[in-house]
Symmetry: C2
Subunit: 189 residues, 2 copies
Amino acid sequence: MTDPSAYRRRKQPDLVRRTLLDCAAKLALEHGLGAVTVQAVSEAAGVTKGGLFHHFPTKQALVEAVVTDLLAQVEADIDAAIARDPKPQGAYTRAYVASTLSDPLLPESGQWAALHISIIAEPSLRRLVAEWLSARVERHRDTDSGPVLEMVRLAADGAWLACFLREEGGPVPDIPALRDRLIAMTFAG
Amino acid sequence: MTDPSAYRRRKQPDLVRRTLLDCAAKLALEHGLGAVTVQAVSEAAGVTKGGLFHHFPTKQALVEAVVTDLLAQVEADIDAAIARDPKPQGAYTRAYVASTLSDPLLPESGQWAALHISIIAEPSLRRLVAEWLSARVERHRDTDSGPVLEMVRLAADGAWLACFLREEGGPVPDIPALRDRLIAMTFAG
DNA sequence: GGTAAGATACCTACCAGAAGGTATCTTTCA
DNA sequence: TGAAAGATACCTTCTGGTAGGTATCTTACC
């Protein structure tokens, strides 16, 4: 948008870049991926289209950056949880469940879920997530394979999905209870 | 799509309408919801934009018709399964699991899943699905409530989601085995 | 049964706006 | 001073949508 005084404000490229990513995510989250246009994102970030294109060569690059950024956050979250876990066996699965069904995620968890859904709805982005996921599973194959652990992670996905769908009316499943039960199962297997 | 001879071909409104719905679904399924433009849909259906707008007053109407059509198919599938089930207790849950994880759905189940995902990714369409789902749950509350049955349906959702994400590389979970286990659980509860 | 009248189905041609993207200009920072 | 940060203006393409045409189908009446 036209802001003649924008020249004069302090240049904070990193912050602008972050803001662009956040705004893109927020738009996708609140109004669907279709609402993520170059115009809307740059406008929401208080920058012009030209500014956006300085940071991201193309729109695809922007949205891929959003995805990889999101995955990196989740990855860090999971790794931290694994590091805190004294028992290596099933640690990844526990971390995965906790991350997927975590409290900070949950209050507006539908929100984050919506973003994830938007992402995997797009074939091009789906690959990114699928590859990340399979890489993670492969990496923790020694400690986190077997039918029980796999089923636990699977149920976590389902719960996450359900909880997001139920967001507009309908009974929300008892996530904390389910989470505890799932984590308990990782010790039995 | 300029086809001067198109005037002369037989008029088959119902078939054209169906074709439009199918093509829209196929486009969403293969290239994401973003690929569903009135141009692309009408072209794929061998009709002009004007022809499409004769059947559907707006694009939104078209895509909502796709959704309700899809839900109607699933509903018929589930109802048929319930009718075949001798035991009323948990019949809906069994039908739901079977439908979600059914073989005819499974070979390219990623396909159908992708369509569902595309649908619930769009906030406006999500409501349709959520309402349908909660109406169904409410309708079978007498025979299909309780934590076990709910968890079973939840796990089915998760399996469906997982199996769809794993489609491009990565180990596909053993769906038939899981399905049998889930259905067995509906009798225990 | 034939035919005129009207509805239905579908096409052609267009539009206003928004999409992503580029080229080029200032301004700020190191 | 030179490179990075960001603004402005513009282009092309495609978007959903409309107006008005022309066929085909259906019904009513004789």
